[in-house]
Amino acid sequence: MNPYIANTKIEVDEMLQCIGVKTIDDLFLDIKPNQRPKSFNIPPGESEQEVVAYINRLANKNRSDLILFIGGGYYDHYIPAAVGSLISRGEFYTAYTPYQPECSQGTLQALYEFQSAICTLTEMEVANASLYDGGTALYEAVMMAIRITGRRRIIMDGGVSPIYRTILKSYTSNLDIEFQETPVVHGQSDRQQITKLLNENTAAVILQNPNFFGAIDDHTDIIEQAHKFGILVIESVYPISLGLLKTPGEMGADIVTGEGQSLGLPLNFGGPYLGFMTTRKKFIRKMPGRIVGQTVDIHGRRSFVNTLQAREQHIRREKATSNICTNVSLCAIQACIYMSLLGKQGLKRLAQLNLDKAEYAKQVLSHVKGVEIKRSSPTFNEFTAYLSKDANAVVEAMINRGFAAGFPLGRYYKGMEQYMIVAVTEKRTKEEIDRFAESLEEVLKEM
């Protein structure tokens, strides 16, 4: 018997007797003989020790030792030990969706605090309790804008992550939604193009800050223009950068989404991550996902509950704002713990440190022969480097020297085969940055 089954042979017999059947097989008579498995070739079970050894052997085949200068929306930030320790409490991770508020106040309050923290980061009024990841959160934002405006045309800035843009297209292929993409000029949003495309049939403009090339922007002017046509503006943001950067709330954005992985979540080869969404309070009923609200119990004590559930699938069914059932509660709580540890000053300092190191890396790399750093627009902790050789080949060669040097842009942008984006987080030391530049110089020379 596997270790997760408690009942002994004697107890099983007692239970069968109570039910009034002879064997467990008798409980499966509804499954007719012709409905039984045609095959079930699963290997025999193994002990915990054996499985651990096998999985760790597979883990050994991964190169997690590389020094990461690769970002592209997913960043190598340091995670304080307290985050991992608190989030490993079984009371958090083995609970279910807080349907019964009296015995779920821990999850509920933590999610309320998460919502509040994300609101102050983005300077928006209301947040949901999280969505799957940054890409799917952006898709949900688009659907929300379509619901609010009743329009079906979307303008998308070329600086929005190409991964997210691909997701949006696959999701909407069965729906009648028109996408217009605008190019990036000098690293930033193309104001002329976007303004030209604005009209009364447009539901939303999607922007990203910092954009995929790392450039930062102030979108206030675009947002003002869009609002003249009743168009909503969706901003996709990188939360760590908001320790420093102008917030989407201050710019006037209507819906804000982002990937929260950088807020204390490991890279995890792609997931689980943390999608978040904030908006203005007047749109709260059009927002998808769970929302936790504060109230009082029958004795007047502060309590938290899932609220505005009438938007959700288990009540509205086919008329729901989304088919989303769960969110990523645990990841949201993890991010909340991280943000609490960093605090007001910590987040600011962390953002500044990222900026300082990236600026240093830019300086050092600009002295490398065969590297040109684009300086047309300011950046945060990621920037675009032009190489004298094919970026794919350069990045591949750098692996042998222990670096994931960056993300080559040719994969998603035609004509940019000699560009890569380089990310520099607080984890990169001066020594690593210097060595990175030296190695890059050598690699370019050898090619």
Partner: protein
């Protein structure tokens, strides 16, 4: 279950009270009880033209959401603004203070598609 005598009813539990060519519209006692404490109502827009039995606004309670269908065709001329700040009025007084909207009726003959209070009473019994 309370039913008003001079009102007409729909199968979706809306009521309508007709005075000249103005129809006042709300939801019935049965509907408000089924929904429970109503927490929000999305009122129709004044001047909107509505068709009989078309979706016209929606109400939410803590654990339910319900669409409300126009009992008659016509133009919305007034909505009950008190419901915005106090949607619970529908629970307290569904046939009077909790009215939802007034419509200028475009086709009086449509009343033939509605139930009298006796018919509605029977209809409710059939649902049990």
């Amino acid at each position: 279950m309370e039913i008003e005598e001079h009102y007409l009813y729909t199968k979706e539990h809306e009521w309508v009270y007709i005075e000249d060519n103005i129809a006042t519209i709300g939801i019935t006692d049965y509907a408000q009880e089924a929904l429970g404490d109503i927490t929000f109502i999305e009122l129709p827009e004044v001047d909107n033209e509505v068709e009989q039995f078309e979706h016209f606004c929606s109400v939410e309670s803590v654990k339910a959401a319900s669409d409300i269908f126009a009992p008659m065709s016509g133009k919305v001329i007034e909505v009950n603004a008190d419901l915005e700040s106090g949607p619970g009025l529908i629970n307290k007084s569904c046939y009077e203070k909790g009215w939802i909207a007034k419509i200028e009726i475009s086709d009086q003959d449509e009343t033939s598609n509605l139930m009298t209070h006796q018919e509605y009473q029977k209809y409710l019994e059939s649902l049990e």
